[in-house]
Subunit: 585 residues, 2 copies
């Protein structure tokens, strides 16, 4: 037996296997996932695992390594989030999202930091040795909403698109703020005196870290798109480039102390449009599927490790500090959301309702990022207290808030995500309105959102597409593309409807047989072709074409990270067709 030799890959594979099997286990019982969020169940599994390891070895189980988390587990999740980000609602609400992410996070950091410092002044609590800077440092790591935790909970409750993007977008973009503040306070803690220059440098760093991340991400994204121009003869490595360039953008940003999360999101959003046009359909399926798979596994591992790392002797328990941390996290977030939304609502026609505000405040879950950051703190005598407080806040938000948010959404009757995708009519009108508003903004001299969108679209079709797309000389109108997509989908559905019936006398089989026979007739036999060109038939065709275009199915983006869009759809639609056939018979 030579275990040493294979230990590293063997243990990694086993952990991934455990995570995957745990996931299968939950889904075997349909009731469990509908009541408890998966994240809670996974933490629970992790707690049990940690307990077993602790019991057997009689020492603390290994905690999640911060390097492993930031270098290997986080990127797949953020890449998935960025790649499947619904860009329209994101850019429509970018102002609000940035306000929450930047101002909101700063508000929370200072709010929590100063109030905890206040608590530390109470002599009875015996916390006087925790300085203001340490409290602010703690505030900077505990204040940020965690994208992994938010995604895990929000994708299960299906709130409306705007609400989802507000919370989720904030959780992603606050990374830049967290990085800056955390590093700032950490270096302040080690400095003997703090000059006002340092504080100003810190403010300047916000822009560098955020915008630098965007720049790094976009440049890698465009390089990726440009590379896929040349993969026509070697389709099989196409998916690789999507992953490689995204990961490089993340690592490069981290290397320069920029925001890796912002970089990978910009990279994914920048490349998506061009890469999808360049790579083959099968490569695209692979990219989508693998991204989902990877992020799903990462996310499972993170929650299990969170559970495992909780067990052990890393904690220093201090009731007042820990309880007040939880309370301040809740209060300052609620206050921040209220105040910021008040300003946002003054400048917007589509206001954020008070129900939405409640869900935004309540959905401020903390997760593995805080946890990794607290372990990265330099050693000082109260580190274990901070670890305990962070653990409690994470468990409280994930378990209590995560489990109650679904009943609350039901109770408050928060507006849900619309089930049906927009019809083609709606889509055409939306596009028409975009053009119109861009025109109005241009005439009125107001350089708003639509004006910039229009300019960007012009720049894209004029320059970017020509450089980044392989077949830039054939710009298809999106309505033609949509029709082609529908046509292809419809054809597959019909073939699959045929699959449902096994005998030749089954109606669905007849349908598809008829389909085949007719198409064959069109292609092969002459006599029938003349029928096809009959003006009557042509009229009929046009009418059905129009109807076809009307009967549009789901084309909108899907949020759920654990199932691919339209995964179960085809069979349902095939059934629908079958039922229609039956009725007609």
């Amino acid at each position: 037996l030579d275990y040493q030799h294979v230990q590293v890959p063997f243990e990694i594979t086993l952990w991934i296997m455990l995570a995957s099997l745990a996931k299968i286990g939950f889904h075997l019982y349909n009731k469990l996932p509908s009541v408890v969020p998966e994240s809670c169940l996974l933490i629970f599994v992790g707690l049990i695992m940690g307990g077993i390891i602790y019991g057997l070895n009689d020492r603390s189980p290994p905690v999640m390594d911060s390097d492993i988390f930031f270098l290997y587990l986080l990127p797949p999740i953020v890449l998935d989030a960025g790649y499947f980000m619904p860009s329209r609602p994101f850019f429509e609400n970018i102002g609000t999202i940035l306000l929450y992410a930047v101002v909101g996070t700063i508000w929370n950091v200072f709010g929590i930091g100063f109030s905890l410092y206040g608590i530390c002044q109470v002599k009875a609590f015996r916390l006087q040795d925790v300085s203001l800077l340490h409290n602010l440092l703690f505030g900077s790591l505990i204040a940020a909403v965690d994208p992994v935790a938010v995604l895990a909970v929000f994708e299960e409750i299906h709130v409306n698109e705007k609400l989802h993007i507000l919370v989720f977008g904030e959780s992603l973009l606050n990374d830049a703020v967290t990085v800056v503040l955390y590093k700032l306070f950490r270096s302040f803690c080690e400095m003997p005196t703090i000059k006002s220059v340092d504080v100003f440098a810190g403010v300047g760093k916000f822009f560098v870290v955020g915008l630098g991340g965007v720049l790094v991400g976009l440049s890698f994204g465009f390089t990726a798109a440009f590379t896929t121009r040349f993969t026509k003869d070697i389709r099989v490595i196409e998916p690789l480039f999507v992953f490689l360039y995204s990961y490089l953008s993340y690592l490069t940003a981290e290397m320069f102390h920029l925001s890796g999360i912002v970089a990978i999101i910009s990279c994914a959003m920048g490349m998506k449009r061009y890469v999808e046009a360049n790579i083959s359909l099968k490569s695209h399926t692979t990219v989508k599927y693998f991204m989902k798979m990877w992020s799903s596994v990462s996310d499972t591992l993170i929650f299990i490790f969170l559970g495992v790392s909780t067990i052990g002797e890393n904690h220093e328990w201090n009731w007042p500090y820990i309880c007040f941390t939880v309370i301040f996290c809740l209060i300052w977030r609620a206050l921040g959301v209220l105040v910021l939304t008040f300003f946002v609502n003054r400048f917007h026609v589509n206001t954020i309702t008070s129900k939405d505000q409640f869900i935004i405040a309540y959905g401020g879950l903390r997760g593995a990022i805080c946890f990794s950051l607290v372990f990265l703190l330099p050693d000082f005598h109260r580190k274990k207290l901070f670890i305990a407080a962070t653990t409690v806040v994470i468990l409280f938000t994930v378990f209590v808030q995560g489990m109650t948010i679904r009943p609350l959404v039901d109770l408050l009757a928060v507006k849900r995500k619309r089930e049906s995708a927009p019809t083609v009519g709606e889509q055409i009108h939306i596009r028409f309105l975009d053009h119109l508003l861009a025109g109005i903004e241009d005439i009125s001299g107001h350089w708003g959102q639509y004006y910039w969108k229009d300019k960007l679209e012009y720049f894209n079709s004029k320059y970017l597409q020509k450089i980044l797309l392989r077949e830039y000389d054939q710009p298809k109108s999106s309505i033609v593309l949509l029709y082609e997509k529908l046509e292809r989908k419809h054809a597959i559905e019909l073939a699959q409807a045929g699959q449902l019936g096994h005998g030749p006398t089954h109606p669905s089989f007849l349908c598809s047989a008829f389909l085949c026979s007719n198409s064959d007739r069109t292609v092969i036999t002459d006599q029938k072709l003349e029928d096809t060109l009959n003006p009557d038939v042509l009229d009929n065709m046009q009418e059905i074409l129009a109807r076809n275009l009307y009967r549009i199915r789901r084309t909108g983006p899907a949020y759920n990270r654990h199932t691919l869009p339209g995964d179960s759809e085809p069979t349902e639609q095939a059934k629908e067709i079958l039922i229609l056939c039956h009725k007609n018979l």
Copy 2:
């Protein structure tokens, strides 16, 4: 700048990126890959890279780590080979393959070892300090044909299926022999005296290592199939299990000193049938695509690293030893193939022609496995000589033999792979003959290949399928499955034919529009449906259905590791349909 922090993943990503970009580069110029095999080009890139590193640092570039090779680079390639192994020719020739792999490899090891020992006795060569055991040890690592190198060359020359599987199967299965002999001689080298018991133990180990690998592989394969029974609600992690279980089988086998290659091949071949039936179509595309992608990248990296590792000061040059090694490798392999084939041909009706024998002998390429094994040798004073000889043999076989084998195949007019897949008629006849032969063998009391195949098939449908498949109660006849597959493909093709025309007056657009209109009519309007049930139409339908089944396309297995089967086909067929439409108009 914090490079230390991201160094490991950053450098790995950059190496993979370099490999992928090199691959794209070769395919940009169509003429290059048709003359020089990709493996040679990649080694060449590696040599240049190594030269640059050597020139800049003035010390040897890092050699390929044997652990990295065996733990991370080799498994994806072998998994891909096993998963896409054409099982029929493999099992039909399993006896011959095993003969070549076991007896042939032993023949080569001892032949090369003893003759090199003879060379060492010549005083003028100054090699008298190389003992017989060391020569045998060297023979055990240099004798084995390398699957990676063989695959890289043979998939480009398209020889007939039997010839391909003989060389490729041998290169895979000789791993068990190589593992045993290499470890045996290495331990003998370190032992003071060798007893005859040790030699017998070595012989017994053959069976343990080989059969143990098969057992480990099959048990992991069946577990994988069993696991995918329960993934219906969580499709997105299905592909993961294929990779995880295969990798675990490899690692487990390596852990117990069994043959990892044999294990992973058994695992892949064992699970394939059941996993494919259990997982969704999209998951299956992802599995296939990712396997190809991964093995393609691994293979690229291996050849680049081979090139890089060649440069440096690891070599001790001794003309006679190195030249004689190359000569003996060629001679002993040629002799072995001749002698073994003589025996094989006496017992087979389908004999191996002398042309085939020449290609089998000539196709005995050496590659990265030898290279990794020679670096794993314990330190002794002539290790650098062995490294030099191994490097020369690898470069000679890959460059000289690899580059000349294609012209030789052309010159000798070796029977090529048939381009067209077998028709349904042929397939039905083959199956019929199988049943017939199984019956004849049963009656005549001869327990041959067909008898066992039949028994295995019975066992499979009676027990294995019920345990491992999700919907075992619906066994579909394979002809129905084939028809469904064709139907689905046809539907997609028609939709894509529609894609080629952009205006509504274009004939292909009309075809697909007609297709849609008809299917819609069938589904929705009553009046048309009655037409459908007209007996005339039904007859017509049946006729076209029959023709449809006749017009079968590629269903056979494809060998090429770098393109997925049927990758470029749909568009070609769509064009064909378009041309037909044009003609008819």
